[in-house]
């Protein structure tokens, strides 16, 4: 639209090439392979697998339980998360610490939270729901909290001067205005719980099989048509929930300029509001630490020793799994950063049909769950030309595919929120379009990119769904090793799992907090340039 100051469409088209190739090979092809294997094994459409699935009472039970646990998790999350959302939308001393705790809880590997809850609760529905809530209070606090912070309190005052009692004013104004964000947060929580794998793998028992667990089992036992049918059922539910979410209205989570938050009037009220959320997130982690430090009723370094012990159920020493995770994480982060960054740049231009298509395919791993993706890789990359299955690269590539949506979603709003007049101003001051882009867009998006990449690293470190199908015994990742150790009897195995979980959790926390800070540093450096 702008004659001179717009980045040329050709640059964006060029940037889209690599992401398009990635979307095609690493996402669309494996998923198409699953559908073909399940519904058209001989080339023509055959829905036997779906029919078998719905005829078996066990499958119906699995589907019902998946919905039940997701609904219960969502309920508990809202119960605990909404007061916390109010508290995080206000200004008070210590708010930053609580926000940081929520950020950490959200990016913590699922198996770490799983093992933390398991250190004081038996396997079962309660443990699963508790762990899901521990993850998702952060989602509710962030989405609803951001919307709440933007509400103008004078609107409620206006309602009161018009005759509404304070509770009535709250209901008519604040609650009504927050309803879309609450609905969105609830649907996202439901989705995460519905497709959850790591938590249920660690905390579930024979009675708590979910669709995701069943897909994994079917894939492992090579019941490929059953896995495909389950995948389809899951996909349908995911699509319906996502459709509901878009219908509920998209709350603006990425707030460019947060208005000055209101000061909380009563510290007691704040404490009461955040206490349940802090407890549900913090207690399991505290117990995990404590149980690792005091394995047999007295403090000892046994956990640290277990990390380097040769004598566990693993084929390698636990610490080596951490090394493998780091190596995979490095590869996955670079791939996700490059693909996601280029994709965000390409998508930030005019919204054409092909760009929307690329966006949709790249986002697919968010919806179809990592186990499904891993299963797709398993059946796609087992023959030439892409016989990746035997190569360790396949695991970090799967991690990257899962992480790309997060990089894109972190960078794209930042690129789109850049005022085109900044670029035009640079243009009238003598900067050619490419130079203007480099001086304006690049530094302004750097922070979001840093956050997105940090998130990608955290995802790779914690990824368990695809890894559970693709990793090999000889080179387990840390989450894989933790789950394996937990599945074996013996104190040494449990202790090793706990020690590994703490190390992995600490590593993830450090990376995420550093990249959020790092973005800040990049910003400061540029300001001085």
């Amino acid at each position: 639209m702008n004659a001179g100051a717009e980045v040329s469409g050709r640059a964006r088209r060029l940037a889209a090439l690599l992401p398009a190739l990635f979307a095609l090979v690493m996402v669309a092809w494996p998923l198409a392979a699953i559908l073909r294997r399940g519904f058209a094994p001989e080339g023509s459409l055959a829905l036997d697998a779906l029919e078998d699935l719905f005829r078996s009472s066990r499958s119906r039970r699995v589907i019902a339980f998946t919905v039940e646990q997701a609904a219960l998790s969502t309920g508990l999350t809202l119960l605990v998360g909404l007061p916390a959302a109010w508290a995080t939308s206000r200004r008070w001393r210590g708010a930053a610490v609580v926000r940081a705790l929520f950020t950490v809880s959200f990016v913590l590997p699922t198996v770490v939270m799983g093992i933390a809850v398991r250190s004081f609760l038996d396997r079962g529905l309660l443990a699963i729901v508790l762990a899901h809530a521990a993850f998702n209070v952060a989602v509710v606090a962030r989405i609803v909290g951001a919307a709440w912070a933007q509400l103008d309190p004078t609107e409620e005052d206006a309602a009161q001067t018009l005759g509404a009692s304070p509770p009535r004013a709250f209901l008519d104004v604040t609650a009504a205005r927050l309803a879309p964000s609450i609905a969105a947060a609830a649907l996202i929580t439901f989705l995460f719980s519905f497709t959850s794998f790591g938590v249920i793998a660690v905390l579930g028992d024979a009675r708590t099989a979910t669709i995701e667990i069943e897909i994994w089992r079917s894939a492992r036992t090579l019941a490929l048509d059953r896995a495909a049918a389950l995948t389809l059922v899951q996909l349908v539910v995911v699509v319906v929930v996502l459709w509901l979410a878009s219908w509920a209205g998209r709350p603006n989570v990425e707030v460019a300029r947060v208005p000055q938050a209101l000061r909380a009037r009563s510290p007691l009220l704040v404490a009461a509001a955040v206490a349940p959320a802090v407890a549900i997130v913090g207690l399991p982690l505290a117990v995990l630490f404590f149980s690792a430090l005091r394995p047999r009723g007295s403090f000892s370094l046994a956990a640290a020793r277990a990390l380097v012990s040769d004598d566990t159920a693993l084929a390698v020493r636990p610490i080596e799994a951490l090394g493998t995770s780091l190596r995979f994480c490095a590869v996955a982060t670079v791939v996700a950063g490059v693909v996601g960054g280029l994709a965000a740049f390409a998508l930030a231009g005019r919204r054409t049909r092909s760009r929307r298509g690329l966006d949709a395919v790249l986002m697919l791993p968010l919806g179809v769950s990592a186990v499904t993706l891993g299963y797709g890789y398993l059946i796609t990359f087992d023959e030439p030309p892409l016989e990746l299955r035997a190569h360790w690269w396949i695991v970090p590539l799967a991690h990257a595919a899962v992480a790309v949506p997060f990089v894109v979603r972190a960078v794209l709003p930042a690129l789109r929120s850049i005022d085109p007049r900044w670029r035009e101003a640079a243009g009238t001051l003598g900067a050619a379009p490419s130079r203007a882009w480099r001086d304006v867009d690049l530094p302004l998006a750097a922070r979001s990119f840093s956050v997105g990449v940090g998130f990608a690293a955290a995802i790779s470190l914690g990824e368990f769904g695809a890894t559970a199908l693709l990793a090999r015994e000889g080179t387990p990742t840390a989450p894989f090793a933790i789950a394996r150790l937990l599945g074996q009897p013996g104190d040494r195995n449990v202790l090793g799992a706990r020690a590994l979980a703490i190390a992995l959790g600490a590593l993830t926390t450090v990376i995420v907090l550093l990249t959020e800070r790092g973005g800040g540093w990049a910003n400061v450096r540029d300001r001085r340039a």
Binding site: N2, A3, R421, W422, E424, A426, L429, G430, P433, R528
Partner: protein
């Protein structure tokens, strides 16, 4: 150093926002493009800067057609509406940006930035963040940033638009002095008639993408071409009147003078009426309000109210309810035959922000 805009048409989103505009800006001249929001003035400015493609017509500078010159090669300094300061750079880096693009580095750039900041009364501001500045300071940073690029033409889009009334009144004089000091041709786009008359050597009135009237501020002010222009430059609302041999019959009384017989729309500007014992109209004061160093008094006829107040300026206003005599200067009354009013289309209030 002459800018020529010839029959420039700009189309945006399928609708024509500038329709065949002709405009010449001579060296050292300041032209103010005045119009309500949506009149196409910002699009015209952007088209001159090269930020908006031309659907037709051409823009030349020093006789050279700029069609193939992208914005970054035109050396036109633009001060954007809301300024478009780079939020991720400090004051010094904003001001020095044009120098940096041109490869002027280190001490030389710092020196020139210092000099500009000094000129703008912003000495010591180089390391300040943009977000820490007041409205007036941001304004001056934007000016300094533009001047640092050594422009051959200055383009201002609502330069004082973001500021509050009192600051605008103060800064408008500064801005005039500054533009004058550069000796550069300048185009200022604004919706505010006070700002326009204070800055302009020449005023161009824009409405619905077309030039309605053009001339020196005093001409546009004292002889608006039609009722719409009169209203837009701040005159009282027009009333219906009828001309006969006796003069112009208005709701308040007859204005003695010679007008061809027929229906008229009439505006009695503040400068056309005064309180005077010799005044031919007898009226009653309905309201007194202070305005700009004096008072504006609303009066209406004594017998039965006409419903439309007549506005009179006064230094010593009479009391509300008192009876006064009002004198009208026929030569300062604005009257348009009704047929020409219809031609001007939509005499309703112009959209003002």
């Amino acid at each position: 150093m002459t800018l020529r805009v010839e029959r420039v048409t700009v189309v945006r989103g399928g609708s024509t926002v500038c329709a065949g505009i002709d405009l010449v800006v001579a060296p050292g001249e300041t032209v103010v493009v005045l119009g309500p929001s949506g009149s196409g003035k910002t699009s015209l400015l952007r088209a001159i800067a090269g930020l908006e493609p031309l659907a037709a017509g051409r823009v030349t500078f020093d006789g050279i057609d700029l069609a193939r010159q992208p914005p970054h090669l035109r050396h036109f300094g633009v001060v954007f509406q809301d300024l478009a300061l780079f939020p991720h750079r400090d004051v010094g880096a904003n001001v020095g940006y044009a120098l940096r693009v041109r490869g002027i580095d280190g001490a030389e750039r710092d020196d020139r930035v210092q000099v500009l900041l000094q000129q703008m009364g912003l000495a010591g501001f180089a390391r300040r963040s943009i977000n820490s500045l007041s409205g007036g300071e941001r304004q001056r940073v934007a000016l300094a940033r533009t001047l640092a690029s050594d422009p051959r033409l200055l383009l201002f889009d609502e330069p004082l638009g973001a500021l509050d009334r009192r600051l605008r009144d103060r800064l408008v004089a500064d801005l005039r002095a500054l533009i004058g000091a550069t000796g550069l041709p300048a185009i200022v786009v604004t919706h505010d008639q006070d700002e326009a008359f204070a800055l302009a050597d020449r005023v161009v009135l824009l409405r619905d993408g077309r030039i309605i009237q053009e001339g020196s501020p005093s001409v546009v002010w004292s002889a608006p071409r039609d009722e719409w222009v009169s209203d837009f430059v701040g005159n009282p609302p027009a009333v219906d009147a009828r001309a006969s041999d006796a003069g112009l019959a208005t709701p308040w009384g007859t204005i003695v003078g010679r007008w061809p017989a027929g229906g008229y729309r009439v505006v009695v500007p503040l400068r056309a009426v005064s309180f005077s014992p010799e005044g031919s109209w007898v009226a009653r004061v309905t309201c007194v309000r202070p305005e700009r160093g004096g008072f504006v008094v609303e009066v209406d006829r004594t017998d039965r109210g006409s419903g439309v107040p007549l506005l009179v300026r006064a230094d010593d206003p009479p009391a509300t309810g008192s009876e006064v005599r009002v004198a009208v200067r026929p030569d300062r009354v604005l009257a348009w035959p009704v047929s020409s009013v219809e031609a001007a289309a939509d005499p309703g209030a112009p959209g003002r922000r």
